[in-house]
Each structure stands twice: as structure tokens, then as C-alpha cells.
């Protein structure tokens, strides 16, 4: 898969409350509405200006906090192609896999990438290409790659059950 877009760069410990505020977790359920509040408490400009294929870049512990999977899915619905971080919080990483959102770990790429620059990600080759060069990221563990390849946990579960 090839992902092409612009970089939205943020800092360390971007938490689930600023990605998808807790007050919306039971009241905003339509995908288009969810996209509109993505990153609301971190960057009010994001939802208005994000384009399909754009990439979010964070520092360490990206997605810390709640288990709410809307913090992953709202980015998918807003068109985000991938998230790159130095490290991911555990629940966020799982939620990304379960929603088929590439969550890529590459500290070097994070240091090199600048807000607003163009980026290209080749998930098959495991490469991030940008102005500073080409950065490799590690593949998903083989046990979970099937979930990602199926398009997420729900299609994967259907497949497992022969449905």
C-alpha cells in the first residue's frame, strides 16, 4: 500500500482525550461527525484542513490514556493514512491494528520529519520517504499481520468464523 500526503507533526504524550474528547464518546457516533472533532483539543485547525493520505507524526507514548478506539477510528474517518511515532501507547497501537490504520514506529523518521512537508509511505517495503531521506520501519508481528491485512479486527473475526 502506498500512502501519500502531508505531515501533521505533534509532540510527546499525545493522549486520547485530545485526539477524541471523552465528552463525545457516547454522543458522536457518525463517522463524518467523528472526523470533524478529531484532534479538537490539540489542534483545532487539523480537522478543517486534513486531506486524504496525510500522516500524523508524534513523539513518544502516542495515544496514551483511554481505551477508546474512536481515537484511532476518528483519524481513519478524517482520511489520515498513517501515524508515525517514536513509541505508541499499548491500547492505541492495538486499536490502530484493529481499524487497519498503520501505526509505524520510527524514532529517526520522527526526528527528521517537519510539519507540513510531503511524505510517502510504502507499507509493503516498510519505507517512509521524505525530504530527509528514506527511513525503514519494522513490520507488524506475524501473529497480528492477518488482522491488519483483513482490514481490521471485525473483518478478520468474520473470516475466522467463516462468515
Amino acid at each position: 500500500m502506498l500512502i501519500k500526503g502531508k505531515v501533521w507533526k505533534y509532540g510527546n504524550d499525545v493522549n486520547t482525550d485530545v485526539i477524541f474528547p471523552g465528552k463525545y464518546t457516547y454522543t458522536i457516533t457518525e463517522t463524518a461527525e467523528m472526523a470533524k472533532v478529531a484532534l479538537e483539543d490539540l489542534d483545532p485547525e487539523f480537522a478543517k484542513n486534513v486531506h486524504k493520505g496525510d500522516v500524523i507524526v508524534g513523539g513518544t507514548n502516542f495515544g496514551c490514556g483511554s481505551s477508546r478506539e474512536q481515537a484511532a477510528s476518528c483519524l481513519v474517518y478524517s482520511g489520515v493514512g498513517a501515524v508515525i511515532a517514536k513509541t505508541f501507547a499499548r491500547l492505541y497501537f492495538r486499536n490502530c491494528i484493529n481499524f487497519g490504520l498503520p501505526a509505524l514506529t520510527s524514532p529517526k523518521a520522527v526526528d527528521a520529519l517537519k510539519h507540513g512537508e510531503s511524505i510517502e509511505i510504502d507499507t509493503d517495503k516498510g519505507e517512509i520517504r521524505c525530504k530527509a531521506g528514506v527511513f525503514k520501519f519494522p513490520p507488524l508481528p506475524k501473529e497480528v499481520v492477518g488482522i491488519f491485512d483483513a482490514g481490521g479486527l471485525i473483518p478478520y473475526t468474520k473470516k475466522q468464523l467463516g462468515l
Binding site: 510527546n12 504524550d13 493522549n15 486520547t16 482525550d17 485530545v18 474528547p21 471523552g22 465528552k23 464518546t25 457516547y26 454522543t27 457516533t29 483539543d41 490539540l42 513518544t60 507514548n61 496514551c64 490514556g65 483511554s66 481505551s67 477508546r68 478506539e69 513509541t87 501507547a89 499499548r90 491500547l91 492495538r94 486499536n95 484493529n98 481499524f99 508481528p141 501473529e143 497480528v144 488482522i147 481490521g152 479486527l153 471485525i154 473475526t157 468474520k158 475466522q160 468464523l161 462468515l163
Partner: protein
């Protein structure tokens, strides 16, 4: 080489030796979900299955917005009641029972050696009872309802050893905040944490819970303690099935080990907007406050009420402060009511709310206004956490909260 508690519990589940880093598929003993069960049920039906794989595995507890704040929440609760009825999920607790992480152990759904998952990040809590427990996502809970299984990575383990006697006025919450400060919000990412040492062994059930509850705030997948006598006594009349305490081997391998001595510990406070932005309370003493949120799965149990009632007895909450009080559960509520503490808190000017999560994720019951400062006994102070990104949340112990309630400013109870 010996095995850690995680390697043992997860190994038992798959019937073979497992090592850290290994990914396994397991069937949990217990799977907890709360108000998010409505969304989970919709995802479950999307999979194309009609019947929940094992209804007895599931525990559903309404606590996140109880009673319903508006028609959306009301419909949500209604969907859940219909779902549990239809699916024969008998372990259902409606809005009057309490916060999920408290109700789980009160009602016997937690036991040593159990493998528990919950679609809530603070599901790490049950490790205080010797269980392996971790948070999962909504879709993952739906998949468990459909086929009973989930993948888990066997975690490396970090050991936190605590020694020394707490000075008077310093408690479990102060230590947990100190641990967050030292280890950092990502210090235990993907890891299991084993809390041990003489101080942990001596602590009450309620105090021990604070650590495994907040283990996720430093990134952990699971928190764990060997159940002490107080814990086993607490569980005795609550848990119906036989269980075996599972302990790490003495020669188990830990990825890191941290030592804390509490004998010189001061009251601690987490400043806005991260849980590891912790300083001694003395550094922010005098900061004006608008509201106190005394509640949450971290600190709203009987021993917390005892401290707060002692401080507020016969006194008045400062007129510029609104003090909101949420007992952790119906059981806690009844006990503190019988002791007369609720009356004392009402007389002091507190607002007594129903057991539940309250404003913890900003749904209702105490959302702060722009620029307001809230002292919370809960576990998270992210920007917007209580429903308004223009407010400021500090995390404290119940004692610091109560002392500050009297003066309307952050007070240092260190003496």
C-alpha cells in the same frame, strides 16, 4: 530461569511455557464492559453472530454516565439493558451499583490467578487481587463476544519495590504520583508491573488498588501484587470459585527494578495536563481552586471517606469551592452512610452525588467552566479530561483535597 506472574498466568491459559514478546491467543476468564456495551453490541452483530459465545464470561456495569445525562445516553443504556437480557448476560449491574472497577471485585468477578480483560483502560486495576488484567478496545470486546478469544503479547515485567513507613498524612496516592514522576508516563509501556515490598504487603485493600489502577498511567499493560492477608480475607466471602494464588518465581527475570522508600515521602500533586507532571504539594501551595472532585475508581472508598470526613467534620467547605463527592459504589455509599460521614459531609457543604464515574471523562456531573481549577482524587488530568479544555485539573490524595476544600487554596497537609 524462573517465570513471572504474567508468564505463569498466560502460560496456564495456553497450556505451554510462554516467554516475553510471544504473542498468544487466549480465552479470558472474565470480560468486563460498561456503558460502551451498546457500541460493542452493535459491532458484535455486524460480525454476523447472533449468540454471545459465552454469556457467563461477561460482566456489564453501567457507570460512565449514570443516570443518563440526555437522550443519547438514555438510548445507549436502553440498548444495553435489551442486549444483556437477550443474550442471557446475568452479570449485569444497572446504574445504582457503582463504578465498574469497584463493582468487579465487590461482586466476586475478580480472583487471584484469573485472566481478566475490560474495555476500559483502568482494567489494570484487578491485579491488586493477584489477577492478570488488561484493558482492550471495543472491537476487541465484540470479537470476544463472537469467538471467545483475544491475542495478547506476553509482557516483560518491571518490579517496583516499596519499603518504609508512610509519614502521617501521606498515603498510597502520594506514592503513586511519585512513581509516575520518577518512571514517567511511558516508563512502563507494554510492560507488566509487579508492586511488592513490605509497605505494599502491609497496605489495605483500598490503598493497594490505587497502584494497579494507575499502572496504566505509566503505560503498563497490567499491574500485579501478591494478594496479602487483607486481600484474601476481603475476597473470601465474595468469590465463589476455587482459585490459586500465582506468584512470580524468586529467580524470575525482571526488565527493570525500582525502589521507593516512603518514610520521607511528602504529599504529591500532578499538575495540568499530564499525570507525570508531579511535584510536592508544597510547590503549588496557595493556588486558588474552584471545584473538588472527590471520587473515581482511584480514590472513593471507605478509607478515603474516613480521611475526608475527619478533616471536614464540624467545619465548612470554603464558600468559593464546590466539593462534589461520589462514593465508588452502592456498598461504599451504604457503609459511609451508616458511619454518619455522609451527613457530616453534607453539613460541611459538600454535594453528594450518586456512585459512578461522575465528571471523570467530561460527560456530566461537574464539568468545570473556562479557567477554573479542579482538584481531583481521580487518575487523569489531560487537557479537556473533565469536559472543558480551558480548565485545569490537579490530581491529589483525598487528604490534600479535603484540606484544600477548607481554605479554597491548595494546602500542604505535610506536618
Amino acid at each position: 530461569m524462573g517465570k513471572t506472574f504474567s508468564e505463569k498466568i498466560l502460560g496456564q491459559k495456553v497450556g505451554k511455557d510462554v516467554v516475553p514478546g510471544e504473542i498468544i491467543e487466549v480465552e479470558p476468564d472474565v470480560a468486563m464492559s460498561h456503558d460502551n456495551t451498546a457500541a460493542i453490541s452493535k459491532t458484535f452483530y455486524k460480525i454476523g453472530v447472533d449468540q454471545v459465545y459465552k454469556p457467563g464470561m461477561h460482566v456489564v456495569i453501567l457507570d460512565h454516565c449514570t443516570p443518563a445525562a440526555n437522550e443519547k445516553f438514555a438510548e445507549n443504556h436502553k440498548d444495553i439493558r435489551e442486549f444483556v437480557r437477550k443474550q442471557g448476560i446475568r452479570n449485569f449491574y444497572d446504574i445504582h451499583v457503582g463504578i465498574c472497577h469497584q463493582v468487579m471485585h465487590e461482586k466476586g468477578h475478580v480472583w487471584p490467578g484469573a485472566l481478566i480483560v475490560g474495555s476500559d483502560s483502568h482494567s489494570t486495576s484487578y491485579g491488586a487481587f493477584g489477577a492478570f488484567s488488561a484493558g482492550i478496545g471495543r472491537s476487541e470486546m465484540a470479537a470476544i463476544m463472537a469467538r471467545g478469544k483475544i491475542w495478547l503479547r506476553v509482557p516483560e515485567t518491571i518490579k517496583i519495590v516499596v519499603d518504609g513507613e508512610f509519614p502521617e498524612a501521606v498515603s498510597a496516592k502520594d506514592l503513586m504520583l511519585k512513581i509516575a514522576r520518577e518512571i514517567g508516563a511511558d516508563g512502563a509501556l507494554y510492560k507488566a508491573i509487579e508492586f511488592c515490598g513490605p509497605t505494599i504487603d502491609r497496605m489495605s485493600v483500598a490503598s493497594r488498588f490505587v497502584f494497579t489502577n494507575m499502572a496504566v498511567e505509566i503505560g503498563a499493560k497490567a499491574g500485579y501484587m501478591i494478594p496479602n492477608q487483607a486481600t484474601l480475607g476481603y475476597l473470601k466471602d465474595r468469590v465463589s470459585q476455587p482459585f490459586e494464588v500465582i506468584e512470580s518465581d524468586p529467580n524470575a527475570e525482571y526488565e527493570a527494578e525500582y525502589h521507593f522508600d516512603v518514610s520521607t515521602l511528602e504529599p504529591m500533586i500532578a499538575k495540568p495536563h499530564t499525570v507525570d507532571n508531579v511535584v510536592p504539594v508544597s510547590e503549588v501551595k496557595g493556588t486558588r481552586i474552584d471545584q473538588i472532585f472527590f471520587g473515581s475508581c482511584t480514590n472513593a472508598r471507605v478509607e478515603d471517606f474516613e480521611i475526608v470526613a475527619e478533616i471536614l467534620r464540624g467545619k465548612r467547605v470554603h464558600p468559593d469551592v464546590r466539593m462534589l463527592v461520589f462514593p465508588a459504589s452502592q456498598e461504599v455509599y451504604l457503609e459511609v452512610l451508616k458511619k454518619g460521614w455522609i451527613q457530616e459531609l453534607v453539613e460541611a457543604g459538600c454535594v453528594i452525588m450518586n456512585p459512578g464515574c461522575g465528571p471523570c471523562m467530561g460527560n456530566h456531573e461537574g464539568v468545570p467552566a473556562n479557567g477554573e481549577v479542579v482538584l481531583a482524587t481521580s487518575n487523569r488530568n489531560f487537557k479537556g479530561r473533565l469536559g472543558n479544555k480551558e480548565s485545569f485539573v490537579y490530581l491529589v490524595s483525598p487528604r490534600t483535597a479535603a484540606m484544600s476544600a477548607l481554605t479554597g487554596k491548595i494546602e500542604d497537609c505535610w506536618y
